[in-house]
């Protein structure tokens, strides 16, 4: 299935782009998607403190992704 991956801040710098279209296997979780897309680009420490969003909502790491979803990897926020 096809999903859109939004990349911000440190992830945009690490991957050198702000949006990717990726093809994921069925039953793939947002955490699996992270491993496929970011993988070794991020330290395990950064991965541990990263949250996930699907369609502009925070979701648990084990949430299953659906075709057409927009997913985002959210490093620690620092607005304000």
């Amino acid at each position: 299935m096809a999903v859109t991956v939004k990349l911000f801040a440190v992830y945009r710098d690490l991957l050198g782009c702000s949006e990717l279209e990726v093809d994921l296997p069925a039953q793939c979780t947002v955490s699996d998607a992270f491993d496929q897309v970011v993988g070794g680009h991020a330290s395990s420490q950064l991965r541990q403190i990263t949250m996930f969003a699907i369609n502009e909502r925070y979701v648990p790491a084990e949430t299953v992704v659906n075709d057409g979803d927009r997913i985002a990897f959210i490093p620690p926020v620092s607005g304000g």
Partner: protein, 143 residues
């Protein structure tokens, strides 16, 4: 709350006066406005500039939910939360949270809750630029 909160993330500069106009109301006896600015140091290290990135639709949605919650928790008339993105120099306004209320205690509480919760949950990120490099705050140095 009398009206929809005014929530925006935008690249262009703004002033406190401009944001306070958005919370104007004849029933306001008090407005409390918090301004976050680029300051010249971070943990004793001189800062040259700050750069902000945001997941705009998600951050605006979260800020709207924060504002609606605050509107239920405190006796306020109006609330505005405006955050800038892009690169900013020292002294420039990054964020303004402004609350208008009949009485001052609610205005202070609402503005403080607004900025506290925005900082905790809105998907917005700050990169600090120093003389010798730059770093996304909170992310381990990578690459």
């Amino acid at each position: 709350m009398i009206d929809e909160p005014h929530i925006v993330i935008r690249p262009d500069p703004f002033t406190v006066a401009e944001i306070e106009l958005m919370v104007a109301d004849p029933a306001n006896g008090a407005i409390c406005s918090f301004s976050g600015l680029v300051r010249d140091h971070s943990h004793d290290r001189p800062v040259i500039a700050l750069e902000y990135d945001a997941y705009i639709p998600m951050a605006e949605q979260i800020m709207r939910e924060i504002a609606m919650d605050i509107g239920h928790e405190f006796s306020i008339n109006r609330l505005a939360m405006v955050h800038r993105i892009g690169t900013m120099q020292i002294g420039e306004l990054v964020v303004v949270v402004s609350a208008g209320a009949a009485h001052r205690a609610a205005a202070f509480q609402a503005a403080q809750a607004g900025i506290d919760r925005l900082k905790k949950t809105a998907p917005i990120w700050k990169k600090e630029h120093f003389a010798d490099g730059s770093e996304w705050v909170g992310a381990t140095r990578e690459g």
